[in-house]
Amino acid sequence: MPLLPDKVRQQVEEGFKDLKEPVNLKVFTQEFECPTCGENHNLMDEVAKISAKISIEIYDFVADEDEVEAYKIDKIPATVVEGKEDYGIRFYGVPNGYEFTTLIEAIRMVSQGDSMLSPKTRKKLKSLSKPVHIQVLITPTCPYCASAVNMAHRMAVESELITADMIETVEFPYLTNKYNVFAVPKVVINETIEFDGALPESDFLKHVMKAGEQ
């Protein structure tokens, strides 16, 4: 039985009409000891089938160690949304609920190669000199989380020094404990900066730049 209802698939199809460059979904999975890997694999399969511009590659977390290392995947299920290059967009866990829209947005963004950030933000991000790793911890039922994930992904598209992960907290409880997540979205940047909530672009940027300076 398909995961995506017909109506949703039609909406996504509409949204994919203006895709430009091909998009590759690299799905990292494992048959055992990963309760949600199957669901993630199926979801990505269904999304890939919606547009001829989207392809899918499946990698085993243990067997395909070269790819795992190249994309720095440290947990599964993981999905890399890759355009003509790897912009650093990662989904850890199944992008269900409100996060499904961030998956669709990420595909559109890498296909168009445009972060849609303001000129001011783009200029500022150019001055980054150190790698920045943004982790956005979410729940699929949180209406505010999607905009935080989307913002992190936009910044990853804009700067090759930025990697941005969506992390579904229920699937990775050890990270929920590690970062003391009691409210979502929780954003952790370079393990040094943490904040709660979906911030506007300019405020989000301040945290990213600060992390880049440390």
């Binding site: 729940t139 039922t141 409210a183 709660d196 911030l199």
Partner: protein, 314 residues
Amino acid sequence: MYEDKRYDLLIIGAGPAGMTAAVYAARKKLDTLVISKDVGGQTILASGVETYMGYQYISGAELMRKFEEQVRQFPIAFSIGDVVTTLRVEDTSFAVLTTQGKTFRAKAVIVASGRRARSLNVPGEKELIGKGVSYCATCDAPLFGDKDVAVIGSGNPALTAVNELTNYAQKVYSIVRDSVRADPILVEKARKTGKVEFLAGYAVKELRGKDKVEGIVIKRVEYDKEVALDVGGVFIEIGAVPNTEFAVDVVVLNDSKEIEVDCDCKTNVEGVFAAGDVTNAPEKQIIVAAGEGAKAALSAYWYLVSRPEGGLKQ
């Protein structure tokens, strides 16, 4: 959006009232700017809406996405992620100052800034926000798997939170000051889970914990008996307060700090209108707010065309 121009209309807030006002303003070709922290307001937190005509059931977020889709058809300017801190009356304009340090001006204003969750105002609450104190069960419930939690409040939002939490938590204390006022169907659903303990007649005295919530102290309302509960999360659902702080020096508020409006959504200040949950209009419902938003925009339009100094060209 531009700071150096004078808009016809500023709409403060992008919930059901603000977004409906925006559509009506656009159809009247008013040069309009909408300023809001987010699009959707409190509605996006509603897990299910069954009282908005045209939809038998729709999530609050989906409903507001449809509102936004409808507004975005029109050339309406938006400043999202910004919050108005001051509303000021100038000689020929109204000015608003925002948290992003911007100043916008317009010939007329609609305040549709809605409400926000009410605080308990007890020791420990403020310090533990984001550390186990939550005002959004929809968002944060999945983080409390296998923990004991407490929900404060007696209305439908509180019992909805209780039911959401029973999907994850080990035990849920439902703490109410008087008696449960929620719909019986929600109470019955909660009882059936076998996970909920109802504690009626208790007020919250304090929340305990340093880096995270570790417990809650409640006190019997009728006599001096305190009970300490070990909980890892406290969800506060005790209603909402209007977002009117930025307008206190301009418009008349009632005792509940709501903006007083007449049936045309006019405030005491000519050119300033208000709509939705921020006003004294009875019944805080999405459909009521949307209707009030429409009225406010039409009132603003008639105000603008009748301005002695010309204002709008007809």
